[in-house]
């Protein structure tokens, strides 16, 4: 029994969708007897946003408002969270597993000597006992994790549940935050320049992953199929990390999010960060040598086999069908 403190984020001048998903989890746990719900809003000139959250199920909304919070920095936001913890004495803190959440949450957990569980896709109360579900081994296995100490600091995968869309009575309480000496500061944000390949407009994408094995295999094996189909070539993160293809080919949460009519994944096992970028494609064909690869969970049609046999044969067959061979 205790307080659940939701650390909300602001995006484009309003409460981020992922934060309202945290409200859903918090209210569900509160309903199961875990405690009451409070929230924290951090920003500059954001009283109105905090008032909105108070009506959107955030409970008592603590507000850290000031110019120091105009942009995220781990020092200033950390101090705001520490002040909120001192005021609300939560037994559970919820953050989203976002660039803010994964940056600050482990620090808060270490500072409180608490129990830290990251990137949960589900949180449930079993008779008042908190149970966290998360993926390990890059999505290949699920883990059931139980905190054995309090407070618990948990980060939650965006999209893990529906955002809370009801209304509720709440209020806003101003929070005094002592910033102390800040040892890091925000300088700027910038958008990485996009060159050449715009996969978002392609109707057909043929992507290769680590299973393609070598940089020269992309022009030899993957690109010909994309060309035969009149589509574009994409890649998964390990390919770009290895320097086999430039970043603009990357499909995934840190690359391009695509929704083509047909997505063919060759030699891609299907790490979560890739799936996020392509799972809403209209039709997905996956070719992989490992029958247990997570890519087959999101694919419509799957082939377990050697991509170096299947892809060239498919290229040839497509060309024949188009009368090009």
């Amino acid at each position: 029994m205790g307080t659940i403190l939701v650390i909300a984020e602001i995006q484009n001048g309003k409460i981020r969708e992922a934060s309202l998903e945290l409200v859903s989890f918090a209210r569900r746990l509160a309903g199961a007897g875990y405690g009451d719900v409070k929230s924290l809003v951090i920003g500059s000139g954001v009283q109105g946003i905090a008032e909105e959250l108070a009506k959107q199920g955030g409970g008592e909304v603590l507000l850290a408002d000031g110019p120091a919070f105009a942009n995220y920095s781990v020092g200033a936001f950390g101090q705001a969270i520490r002040a909120a913890v001192a005021a609300a004495r939560p037994s559970l803190l919820l953050l989203s597993n976002t660039p803010i959440g994964w940056d600050v949450a482990p620090r808060i957990a270490a500072g409180l000597d608490g129990a830290f569980v990251s990137d949960c896709f589900n949180l449930e109360s079993e008779g008042g006992k908190l149970v966290c579900h998360r993926r390990v081994f890059n999505g290949k296995l699920d883990a059931r994790v139980v905190p054995t100490a309090e407070p618990v600091i948990a980060t939650v995968q965006p999209g893990a549940t529906a955002a809370f869309n009801g209304t509720a009575e709440g209020k806003v309480t101003k929070l005094e935050v002592s910033l102390g000496e800040l040892k890091s500061k925000f300088v700027a944000t910038r958008i990485a320049e996009k060159k050449g390949v715009d996969l978002s407009k392609a109707e057909i994408i043929v992507s290769g992953g680590r299973g393609v094995g070598a940089p020269e295999k992309f022009p030899e094996v993957i690109q010909p199929l994309a060309d035969a189909l009149g589509g574009a070539m994409g890649a998964s993160r390990p390919v770009v990390d290895a320097g086999w293809l430039p970043h603009e080919y990357q499909v995934g949460s840190s690359g391009q999010v695509v929704t083509p009519k047909l997505y063919i994944a060759a030699g891609i096992s299907g790490a979560i960060q890739h799936l996020v970028g392509m799972k809403n494609s209209n039709y997905i064909i996956a070719i992989n040598k490992d029958a247990d690869a997570p890519i087959f969970e999101v694919a419509n049609l799957g082939v377990v086999g050697d991509l170096f046999e299947i892809v060239p044969a498919l290229t040839k067959a497509v060309k024949e069908a188009k009368g090009q061979a």
């Binding site: 781990v74 994964w102 482990p106 830290f116 890059n138 054995t148 944000t189 993160r237 290895a242 247990d292």
Partner: protein, 261 residues
């Protein structure tokens, strides 16, 4: 300039993952291990920083059983100068916060100017130890780092946000950087490097050596993995089997059906 790099040894990316009999972790016997992919980029970035400075020391630190020596040798072969191996069954059993406490004890004795870690490990995917370590040391940190530049007394880092955006952050030294994969091109250990590594020291520490007896390990852990299992199978893909010719025929007719051929 002294740079500390935290390395974790994890199951090889292509290793077969079977759940062990008690259901709480994977079967670790007879599988290959390697340095966590994120940590190889962290080590490379540290080696580059030392090269750019023209002098200094790169210290690699790892927690784990005997097999970890192999990964530390690889790191020394790539150019690290010294290694510390925290070798103790209680250290192996520690959760992320326990690991951070052990690394903090090593760091306090070594006083590095910069600490590099990977953003996360390929096994637990927790992304916890780096920022926790920084908090315990009272130094600034940043995560998902894609670029580092050294300036007088501080560092400027670019961190990856969502959808191709980057954030520029300035940190006072000493500081900790948790790096994202792809920040650099990781070197291989040269034959000369491997030979030289044989003469480089690997010091070992126990939990007690680090003053944390009883404070880190099974009894001190704050989270417990009760069970791991393959994710429940959803509807999944319709699997096509048979000879290559049949499989390709099926794929072509599907693409035609979609009106794309």
């Amino acid at each position: 300039m002294k740079i500390m790099v935290c390395l974790k040894q994890v199951p090889h990316q292509d290793a077969r993952l079977d759940v062990r009999s008690d259901g709480t972790w994977i079967q670790e016997e007879n599988i290959k291990f390697e340095i966590n992919s994120y940590d190889t980029y962290a080590l490379e970035e540290a080696l580059r920083m030392k090269d750019a400075a023209g002098s200094g020391e790169v210290l690699v630190v790892s927690i784990g059983p005997d097999r970890v020596t192999q990964s530390l040798r690889t790191a020394l072969g790539m150019g690290a100068d010294r290694a510390v191996h925290v070798k103790d069954p209680e250290a192996d059993a520690a959760d992320a916060l326990g690991a951070a406490k052990l690394l903090a004890a090593v760091a306090k004795a070594e006083s590095p100017d910069v600490i590099f870690t990977g953003l996360m490990a390929d096994d637990g995917n927790a992304a916890a130890v780096g920022p926790m370590l920084a908090e315990l040391l009272g130094i600034p940190s940043t995560t998902s780092v894609m670029k580092v530049e050294k300036t007088n007394g501080s560092l400027t880092a670019e961190r990856e946000l969502e959808g191709g955006a980057l954030e520029v952050v300035e940190l006072q030294r000493p500081c900790l950087l948790a790096v994202q994969t792809g920040i650099n091109q990781v070197r291989y250990a040269s034959l000369k490097g491997i030979m030289a590594a044989k003469k480089k020291p690997i010091e070992t520490r126990t939990v007690a050596d680090l003053g944390l007896a009883g404070k880190v390990g099974t009894a001190a852990n704050k989270v417990k993995i009760e069970k791991i299992a393959p994710p429940p199978k959803g509807k999944g893909a319709e699997m096509v089997t048979g000879a290559t010719g049949d499989v390709v025929g099926r794929l072509v007719s599907k693409i035609k059906e979609l009106g794309l051929l």
